[in-house]
């Protein structure tokens, strides 16, 4: 149902009104994480990504690996996290970021129903490439969930339109060759891939992985429609709690609002 996706509709409306999109990420199940989500929502997030911790997070660098391990050690499971997510009364769409085995284990339809009943809008599955995504996408479509596809800098030109055609909500433009984590500068690949994507799709293009602070967010948004803030948010949450998240999201929000 391209064009009818509710997350995409909402994000397009914001973008077309001149707003750059800000997508903070927080690992679900960390003690007090729901307060972190509320703080992000109250300070200018457009979508919030909730990470479902997995034992083997191959796309994640040290900060999110540590957060995942802490959440797992605290007893977090997809069921407990979705229970808590259901109770969140924020006015910002929530999506989950989860590795594919978290979906595969309960089964596509059952997991999609779990997300929908928890009020989740969509899912990002970093180890589920286009060719393997069919069964999950079908189940997600049935529940009205947006499957946010990732596009990588290594993709040849002919692959990008295929990825964009299957993307719902937004396209996650992977900012660099590498795993999640903060870097001292924005990789050249970040804007280069966003530019290539913008040339082939009108779906909102949001850059994630390696966008590490407000300046880099502004730099990425010179081309892209928005940014994901992952490790920078998670690190602050683990060090400073929800207040640290709120202050940081507000800082990036201000920079994006003033920069454009």
């Amino acid at each position: 149902m391209p064009g009818l996706d509710r997350l995409e509709t909402r994000l397009r409306a914001s973008r077309d009104a001149g707003r750059k999109l800000l997508v903070p990420y927080l690992t679900g199940g960390l003690p007090g994480w729901t307060d972190g989500v509320r703080a992000a929502a109250a300070n200018g997030a457009d979508v919030i990504e909730i990470g479902l911790p997995f034992s083997d997070p191959v796309m994640d660098g040290p900060v999110i690996q540590e957060a995942s391990q802490r959440a797992l050690d605290a007893g977090a499971t997809p069921v407990t996290i979705l229970e808590e997510a259901r109770s969140l009364d924020v006015d910002v769409p929530l999506v989950v970021m989860c590795y594919y085995n978290t979906i595969h284990h309960p089964g596509h339809q059952r997991f999609a129903a779990m997300l929908a009943s928890a009020g989740i809008w969509g899912a990002i599955v970093p180890d589920l490439p286009l060719e393997e995504s069919g069964p999950w996408c079908a189940a997600a479509d049935v529940e009205g969930l947006s499957t946010i596809m990732l596009a990588a800098p290594t993709a040849p030109d002919d692959r990008l339109p295929l990825v964009c055609a299957r993307a719902r909500g937004f396209v996650y433009s992977v900012g660099l060759l590498g795993v999640t984590g903060e870097r001292t500068s924005l990789a050249a690949t970040a804007t280069a891939l966003a530019r290539r994507l913008k040339a082939v799709t009108d779906v909102p293009v949001i850059v994630g992985v390696g966008v590490s602070n407000a300046d880099q967010a502004v730099e990425a948004c010179r081309v892209a429609d928005g940014v994901v803030q992952g490790a920078s948010v998670v690190r602050r949450f683990m060090a400073e709690g929800a207040d640290g998240v709120g202050e940081y999201v507000a800082e990036v929000r201000r920079a994006l609002d003033q920069g454009f």
């Binding site: 083997d56 191959v58 085995n101 284990h105 990732l150 990588a152 290594t154 060759l177």
Partner: protein, 389 residues
């Protein structure tokens, strides 16, 4: 030859053996996997590549490996026991077959660097060796626990010019070394080939690595014909990821021989797992009720892996191969049994196969058993010294 296609033929277009396999990798790696599939397909069909690899296997690795009959142990157990001596290959295990194939391919693809994961260190040593031979840069990821218990192999890798990085995440064993090698590859994919050490991972690895180890089965089949004029009744190998087992099974899968892959009780993916997806493949996997991957526990670092290659899952699902388990205690016993009766110190991994044979011999009286002795036990002597006090 056999008029029907082999049970172990090429996987489907999506890289599947039945319902198992596939390519579950981050988008960043999809083009690299596709490129590797094309490169391997072309190289494998190229007589020049095959001739070059055969020549290196012969003149550098020491192939063909011999077949040794265990007269004492066989008599004691009431069976005829033949060993395929992969332990006598250069670097001391079957791993060199795959590594020479992959590094030759990496050079053909213009890659300058390889990364590898290792458990016991055998694949790491083989990778470091082949990288030295081929003039490639090499980095090996190894779980911190394994770095401790396989210190000698760590030093060997460094001697050979490789960089070894201890992995401190998760269970700090083979599973986590694979994660870290994949993370490296995600960042370095343009210059680097991931030299995966078993018949696992995303397509085309399970197929490609099996083809590089097919030489074990091909040789063993011919050697059995010559030695016993028949195929053995049973073919046995240990299974972690399953590369040595796949190699020897490939020579007998279309015969009447019973195929047995022996898993450690603490890492029994087929025996105790359910289908799951990790490290790029759908296969049997030890996992909890939410799909979190469980930590394996085995005395043998090389089998300390909660998953298994997808083709083994397929062979198990169609009933062509069976995957029993043995305990650490049985393995330690078997390690000593083979040393004392035959003067051969097996790798702890292979001692799993010995342990199963020894336990099940009463049900196989008079039968001929072919076991893949896939590695030598020198690396395990220090660990055994501690265990046996």
């Amino acid at each position: 030859m056999n008029p029907t296609p082999s049970i172990m033929s090429k996987p489907s277009e999506s890289g599947r053996f039945g319902d198992f396999g596939g390519r579950f990798v981050p988008e960043t790696l999809v083009p690299a996997c596709q490129e590797l599939e094309v490169a391997f397909t072309e190289a494998w069909a190229d007589p020049m590549f095959r001739a070059e690899l055969d020549s290196i296997l012969k003149e550098y690795a020491g192939r063909p490996s011999i077949l040794t009959e265990c007269h004492q142990l066989g008599a004691r157990l009431g069976i005829r026991l033949l060993l395929k001596r992969e332990d006598l290959n250069h670097t001391g295990s079957h791993k060199i077959n795959n590594v020479l194939g992959q590094t030759l391919l990496a050079k053909r693809m213009g890659k300058k660097r390889i990364v590898a994961e290792t458990g016991a260190g055998q694949h790491g040593v083989a990778s470091a060796t082949a990288a030295a031979l081929m003039g490639l840069e090499c980095k090996v990821y190894m779980g911190a626990v394994d770095v401790e218990r396989q210190a000698l192999n760590v030093f060997r890798m460094k001697l050979l010019g490789a960089e070894v990085e201890a992995v401190h995440s998760g269970s700090r064993t083979l599973k986590d070394a694979v994660n870290e090698a994949m993370r490296d590859w995600v960042a370095s994919v343009e210059s680097t080939h991931y030299c995966l050490g078993s018949v696992m991972g995303p397509h085309p690895y399970p197929w490609m690595v099996r083809e590089f180890h097919r030489v074990i089965g091909n040789e063993a089949f011919a050697q059995c014909q010559e030695r016993i004029g028949d195929v053995p009744d049973v073919v046995v190998a240990c299974v972690g990821g399953g590369s040595n087992a796949i190699g020897i099974f490939s020579g007998f899968v279309d015969t009447r021989a019973r195929l047995v892959g022996v898993e450690p009780a603490g890492g029994a993916a087929v025996g105790r797992g359910q289908p799951g997806v990790v490290h790029g493949m759908r296969s049997y996997l030890m996992q909890d009720e939410y799909g979190q991957v469980l930590e394996a526990h085995s005395v043998s670092a090389g089998l300390d892996y909660p998953g298994v290659g997808p083709e083994h899952s397929y062979l198990a699902s169609i009933g062509r191969a069976e995957y029993p388990t043995v305990t650490d205690a049985e393995v330690i016993e078997a390690f000593q049994l083979m040393a004392r009766t035959e003067g051969i110190i097996p790798a702890l991994e292979c001692a799993h196969a010995v342990a199963w044979i020894s336990r099940e011999a009463p049900t196989m009286q008079g039968q001929t058993i072919l076991m893949n002795l896939s590695g030598r036990g020198d690396k395990d002597v220090g660990q055994m010294m501690e265990i046996l006090g």
